[in-house]
Amino acid sequence: MVRAKTGNRIRETGSDRVINAAVLVLLAVLFVIWFFPMLYVVLASVTPYEDVVRAGLLILPSRPTFTAYSFLFSSTGIVGSFLVTLTVTIVGTLLSMALSILLAFPLSKKGLPGRALITKLLVFTMYFSGGLIPTYMMVRRLHLLNTIWALIIPGCVSTYNMLLLRSYFVSMPDELLEAAEVDGSGPLRTLVQIALPLSLPVTMSVMLFYMVTYWNTYYAYYYYCYDKSLRPLQVVLMDLIRSATGEAEADEFVPTITVQMAAVVFSCVPIVCVYPFIQKYFTTGIMLGAVKG
C-alpha cells in the first residue's frame, strides 16, 4: 500500500485529483451523518428546554444546565433500572464467558470422540429453534419467569460467539498445549494458563459482544417479566421516550425532550467508556467470524 501511494504521487493525474477530492468530501459527509446526531443528543441534554425547542439549526448551549440530569436521577426510577442492568451485565457476561469457553475448548480438541457430532448439534440451534412460545413455556417450567435470571439465562450462550472462540483454539499450535499436558498440567490448567492468555484478542471481543448484548437487554423483559422492579435500563428509557408520544400511563409525568436525551446519554455512558479499549480487539473478532461463517 505504501509503495502504491508513492507511485501515486509521481503520476498524479487530473482524474486522480478529482477522485481524491470526491473521496474526502463523501467521507466528510458520512462523518457528519454519523457524528452530528450523537453530538446533538449530548447538546440537547445540557441545554435548557426552552432553548432546545426554540433553537435554529444549531444548539449552542450558551448556558449549559444539568437540571435534566438531576430530574432524571431524582424522579424517573432510572437508577434502580441501572442497577438491574448492571447486575445482568456483570453476572451474565461472567456466566456466558464461562459456559462458552468451557464448550469451545473441549470442542477444539481434535481427538475428542463425538466432537463433530456435538458441534453439529450446537450449530443446528443457530438455524432452527422452537420459537418464542415453546421457549417461554420452558422458562416458565424452570420457574425463571419474573426473576432476574429470566433476563440472563435464556440467551446466555451464543453459538456464534462459542464458535469464534473454538476456531481460535483450533488454530493454536497443538505442540504447545500437548507440551503442557506432558508436564502434568490438567486440561483446566492448560486452558486457564496457556490457551486463554494466548487468545486474548478473541476472548476480549467475545466478551465485548456479550457485554453489549446484556447492556442492551430489552425484549427479554417483555417476554418473561412483568415486575416493575426488574425493568432494565433500556425498558425505562423506552418508556421515557414513548411517554411523550401519548402512550404513557395517565398518572405519569410527561418528561421533556431534554430529560429524554439525558436518559439516552446516560444509557450510552458505559458503552462509550468501554469502546476505546476494545476497539482494537473487535476487528480481529469480526475477521475470524468472517472466515468461519
Binding site: 486522480d16 477522485i19 474526502l24 454519523w34 420459537g131 411523550a244
Partner: protein, 311 residues
C-alpha cells in the same frame, strides 16, 4: 466366538482408555450442554403446540390435537399476505442497501489518503453498532418528532406544517432502512477493509507502472479482490431473508404503521404473548423457521460449491 469376544474386549478397552483420557473435557462441557438441552432442544418439542389447541393447564401433551387448524387460521387471515410481503420487502431492501453501502464505504476509506481523518471516520462509524435500538430510537425521536424534532423544525420553517415521519406509512420503511444503514454500515465494512488490506501491494505498483489510473486500479484490482467475499456474504444474508429485523421494528413501530411495518416476527410476538393465542403464534413461528432453515441449507450447498461451507 473367542475372536469376537476378544474384539469386543478390545473395543471396550479402547473406549475405556479414551474415556480415561478425555473425561475432564466432557466434564467441562457439561454445563454448556445442559444449557443447550434445556433452552434450545427442549423447546423444539414445544413446536407441537403449533398442532394443538394449547391450554397451559393441560400441558403440551395433554392439550387436544387440532391438526393444521392453526396454520389454516393464519393462511386464510387477512394479515398473512401483508406480513409475508412486509417481511420480504423490508429484508430484501435492507440486504441490497447494506451490501452496497458497506462495500462503498470500505472503498472510500481505502482511497482516503489522509490517514488521521480516515482513522477518525472509522472510529465514529463503528460506534453506532454497539448502541441499542432503543437508544437509536431516542436519537431518531430528537430529530423526527413532530413537536420538537430537528427535521420538523426545518420543515415547518419551509412549509408551515410538520411531517409525521415516525408514524406515517409513507416514511416508515425509509426510516427503517436509514437507521439500519446508520447503525451497521461502518461495522459491516470492517470485513471488506480486512480483505483490501490483504491485497498484494505489488499489484497496484505494477498497474501504476503500466499506466493504470486510480479509477482503473479500483475497478480492476480492488473490486475483483473483494468479489468472492461479497458473494459469500450475500449468500449468507439471503439465508436470513425471513428475518427483517424484529429488534429494530419492535422498537420503532406502532399500530399506525402496521400496514407497512408489521412483519412475521412482530406478529408472532403479539399473537403469542399479548393475545395469548399460543397455537397460532407457534404455528406462524414454525412456518417461518422451516423456510429459514431450508434457505440456510440450500444456500450452504451453494456456498460449498464456491469452496467454503458455513459449517
Amino acid at each position: 466366538m473367542h475372536k469376537l469376544e476378544r474384539k469386543n474386549g478390545q473395543k471396550r478397552q479402547r473406549a475405556l482408555r479414551l474415556l480415561g483420557k478425555y473425561w475432564p473435557y466432557y466434564l467441562m462441557m457439561l454445563s454448556g450442554l445442559v444449557y443447550f438441552a434445556l433452552l434450545k432442544y427442549a423447546p423444539m418439542y414445544g413446536v407441537l403446540i403449533a398442532f394443538k389447541d394449547f391450554k397451559i393447564k393441560k400441558g403440551i401433551w395433554g392439550s387436544p390435537w387440532v391438526g393444521l387448524q392453526n396454520f389454516r387460521t393464519f393462511f386464510t387471515s387477512t394479515y398473512c399476505s401483508r406480513l409475508i410481503g412486509n417481511t420480504l420487502i423490508i429484508s430484501f431492501t435492507k440486504l441490497v442497501l447494506s451490501s452496497f453501502m458497506s462495500v462503498f464505504f470500505a472503498l472510500l476509506l481505502n482511497e482516503c489518503t489522509k490517514r488521521r481523518f480516515k482513522r477518525l471516520v472509522q472510529t465514529v462509524s463503528y460506534m453506532p453498532h454497539f448502541l441499542s435500538w432503543v437508544i437509536i430510537y431516542g436519537i431518531v425521536y430528537l430529530f423526527c418528532s413532530e413537536s420538537a424534532g430537528y427535521i420538523n423544525r426545518i420543515v415547518r420553517m419551509l412549509t408551515g406544517s410538520a411531517i409525521p415521519i415516525m408514524t406515517s406509512n409513507t416514511y416508515f420503511r425509509g426510516l427503517l432502512y436509514f437507521t439500519e444503514l446508520w447503525k451497521n454500515t461502518g461495522y459491516a465494512s470492517i470485513i471488506y477493509m480486512s480483505v483490501i488490506v490483504g491485497i498484494d501491494p505489488g499489484l497496484y505498483e505494477a498497474a501504476t507502472i503500466d499506466g493504470a489510473s486510480r479509477w482503473q486500479r479500483i475497478v480492476h484490482i480492488t473490486l475483483p479482490a473483494i468479489r468472492s467475499t461479497f458473494i459469500m456474504l450475500t449468500i449468507m444474508n439471503i439465508s436470513k431473508i425471513m428475518n427483517a429485523g424484529f429488534d429494530q421494528i419492535y422498537v420503532f413501530y406502532s399500530p399506525q404503521v402496521y400496514q407497512t411495518g408489521d412483519i412475521i416476527d412482530t406478529y408472532v410476538y403479539r399473537a403469542g404473548l399479548e393475545e395469548m393465542r399460543y397455537g397460532l403464534s407457534t404455528a406462524v413461528g414454525l412456518f417461518k423457521n422451516v423456510i429459514g432453515f431450508t434457505l440456510v441449507f440450500t444456500t450452504n450447498r451453494i456456498a460449498q460449491k464456491w469452496g467454503e461451507g458455513l459449517w
